[in-house]
C-alpha cells in the first residue's frame, strides 16, 4: 500500500487496539481513526467474568495500554452502519461518511441471544461487555436466589467458578454431554464437569430450558430434565456470533465472520484487512481451511499482523501463521492450550494426569501432534507450545492435507486411548 493518508480501524477492542498500535510502531504517520460501538476505550474483557465480578478489579483497572502514541481520533459509541469498499467509505449514524485509504475491520463477536429466553427481563443477562458485567453485578446484589447459567463453554464455566467463590448457588445448564466440549475431548470435559460438581455447582447436562416463567420473585425455568429452577438472575452464555451485519451489501463473504486471505487481507476488497474473533482466514499451519479463532491471544497477534499486511500491501504481505494458545481459570485451576486440540482424533498423556491434577495431554491427528492441553502446568506448556510451533509447520500441514487427516471442525467425538490407559 502506497503511504496511506488515512487509516480507519472499525472495532475498538483488543484486535483494533493492537492493529492501531502496530501501525504507529511501524511508522505510519497519517491520520488514524478508531471507531467503536461501545462507549469505552479498549479494555481487558477476560477479567469481566472473573476479577471484575469478584470486585478485585474495577473498570479503570481494565483499560488496555498502548505502548506507542496512537495519536488517533476516537469515535466511540458509534456503530458503523455500512461499508462501501469500492468507494472506500464508511457510513456512520447521523454523521458525515468517513473516507479511508486503508481499513482494519475488527468488530469481534456479540453474544448470541438464546431463542425463547425472556431477554427483556432485567434479571436475564449476557456477558460480553463491561456494561453487561455491570448489569449482572447489580442483578446479583438484588437477590440471593440461585444464578442460572445457560451454556457449557468457557464463559459459562468461568462465571460458575466466580459465583461459587462468591458463595452463590449456581445451576449450570448445557445441551452438551460434558462441559467445554467445544474445546476439549470428552475425557478432559468430564474432568472439568467433575471439578464444577465437586465445588457444589448443580450441573445439568444434555439439558435445555423447556419453558421460561418470569415471576416477581425470580425467573422460573422448567428444564428438559424435569427440574424446575427459580433463579435470581440468569446468564445466557451460549456463544457468540460475528458482528458483521454492517457488512451486508459490501460484496464480502460474511457467511461466518469475514473471509480473509492468509495475509489477513479481506477477500473481495482492496486495502482492507480484518483481525480477531470475526476474521475467518486459513492458518496454513492447519491446512487450507479458513477458520475463525475466538482466543484473546489471537486477537492481539492478528491485530498486529493485519496492520503489517495493510502497510505492506497485498503483494508483499506475509501469511499470518500463529500457533493458537488460550487459557482458562476455574476454581484456581489453570488450564492452558496450544494448537488446535479439537482437530485431534486421539488423546495421549504427555505428562502427569490432567484429569485429576497437573498434567499435559497431547492431541494427535493421525501421527501429527496438533494440540496440547495443560492443567496446572505452565512450564511444561512452554515446552510443548514451542515443540508444536517447530513441528506443525505449514509444510507439515500441507503434507497432512494430502493424507486427509484433518477432521471436520465441529466434530467433537474423540477417543482417549492414552488418557484412559
Amino acid at each position: 500500500m502506497k503511504s496511506p493518508e488515512h487509516i480507519a480501524v472499525v472495532g475498538a477492542g483488543l484486535a483494533g487496539l493492537r492493529a492501531a498500535e502496530r501501525l504507529r510502531e511501524l511508522g505510519f504517520h497519517g491520520e488514524l481513526t478508531i471507531i467503536g460501538a461501545e462507549k469505552h476505550k479498549p479494555y481487558h474483557r477476560p477479567a469481566l467474568s472473573k476479577q471484575f465480578l469478584e470486585g478485585g478489579l474495577r473498570g479503570r483497572d481494565l483499560m488496555l495500554p498502548s505502548y506507542f502514541d496512537l495519536d488517533a481520533e476516537w469515535r466511540l459509541g458509534t456503530p458503523v452502519q455500512r461499508l462501501d469498499p469500492a468507494r472506500r467509505v464508511l457510513y456512520l449514524p447521523g454523521e458525515p461518511p468517513v473516507r479511508y485509504d486503508g481499513l482494519v475491520i475488527a468488530t469481534g463477536v456479540r453474544s448470541r441471544a438464546l431463542p425463547g429466553a425472556p431477554l427483556r427481563d432485567p434479571r436475564v443477562h449476557m456477558l460480553r461487555t463491561i456494561d453487561d458485567a455491570t448489569a449482572l453485578h447489580r442483578s446479583l446484589a438484588a437477590s440471593d436466589l440461585p444464578c442460572l447459567i445457560i451454556g457449557g463453554g468457557f464463559t459459562a464455566c468461568e462465571l460458575a467458578s466466580t459465583l461459587r467463590d462468591l458463595g452463590r448457588d449456581v445451576v449450570l445448564v448445557s445441551r452438551s454431554k460434558t462441559l467445554l466440549r467445544g474445546a476439549f475431548d470428552p475425557v478432559m470435559g468430564e474432568a472439568i464437569t467433575g471439578l464444577h460438581r465437586s465445588k457444589g455447582v448443580d450441573v445439568q447436562l444434555g439439558a435445555q430450558v423447556r419453558h421460561w416463567a418470569p415471576a416477581e420473585r425470580g425467573v422460573g425455568a422448567y428444564l428438559s430434565t424435569g427440574k424446575f429452577v427459580v433463579a435470581g438472575c440468569v446468564v445466557l452464555a451460549v456463544g457468540g456470533e460475528p458482528e458483521t451485519d454492517w457488512l451486508y451489501g459490501a460484496g464480502l463473504d460474511i457467511s461466518d465472520g469475514v473471509l480473509c486471505e492468509p495475509t489477513c487481507h479481506v477477500v473481495g476488497a482492496s486495502d482492507v484487512v480484518a483481525a480477531g474473533d470475526m476474521a475467518r482466514w486459513p492458518n496454513r499451519r492447519f491446512g487450507s481451511t479458513p477458520r475463525r479463532i475466538e482466543h484473546w491471544l489471537n486477537a492481539m497477534e492478528m491485530g498486529r499482523a493485519a496492520a503489517e499486511s495493510l502497510l505492506a500491501g497485498r503483494a508483499a504481505a506475509v501469511p499470518f501463521e500463529p500457533m493458537p494458545r488460550f487459557w482458562s481459570e476455574q476454581y484456581g485451576v489453570r488450564l492452558q492450550a496450544a494448537g488446535m486440540p479439537r482437530l485431534g482424533r486421539r488423546v495421549v498423556r504427555l505428562s502427569g494426569d490432567a484429569r485429576t491434577g497437573a498434567g499435559v495431554l497431547g492431541y494427535f491427528a493421525d501421527d501429527l501432534l496438533v494440540g496440547v492441553v495443560g492443567r496446572e502446568s505452565p512450564r511444561a506448556m512452554l515446552h510443548w507450545a514451542a515443540k508444536l510451533r517447530a513441528s506443525l509447520t505449514p509444510a507439515a500441514a500441507a503434507a497432512a492435507t494430502r493424507r486427509r487427516i484433518w477432521r471436520a471442525w465441529r466434530q467433537t467425538t474423540c477417543t482417549a486411548e492414552g488418557a484412559t490407559a
Binding site: P46, A47, G56, L57, Y67, E329, R334, P378, M381, A385
Partner: protein, 66 residues
C-alpha cells in the same frame, strides 16, 4: 535511547508463563512457581518485553519507557 522499567503486580499475576514464551531472557517462572523478572531490561530486549506485556492474560506487567 529509551530506558525500560518493568514491574509485575504479584496479585494480578497467575504465572501462566506466556511472558516467558515472548521474552525468556527477561521473565522466568521458576520450578517452585514464582515469577523472576528483569526490572531493568536491556534496550535491545525492548520489543520482546513489550510483547510479553501485551501477551499477559492477567495484564499484570507494567512497562514504563523513559
Amino acid at each position: 535511547m529509551s530506558l525500560l522499567r518493568v514491574s509485575v503486580d504479584n496479585h494480578r499475576c497467575h504465572r501462566y508463563a506466556f511472558c516467558q514464551a515472548e521474552a525468556p531472557e527477561n521473565f522466568k517462572v521458576t520450578e517452585d512457581g514464582r515469577l523472576d523478572y528483569e526490572r531493568r531490561p536491556r534496550t535491545p530486549d525492548t520489543d520482546r518485553v513489550l510483547m510479553a506485556a501485551r501477551s499477559c492474560p492477567m495484564q499484570a506487567i507494567h512497562v514504563e519507557m523513559r
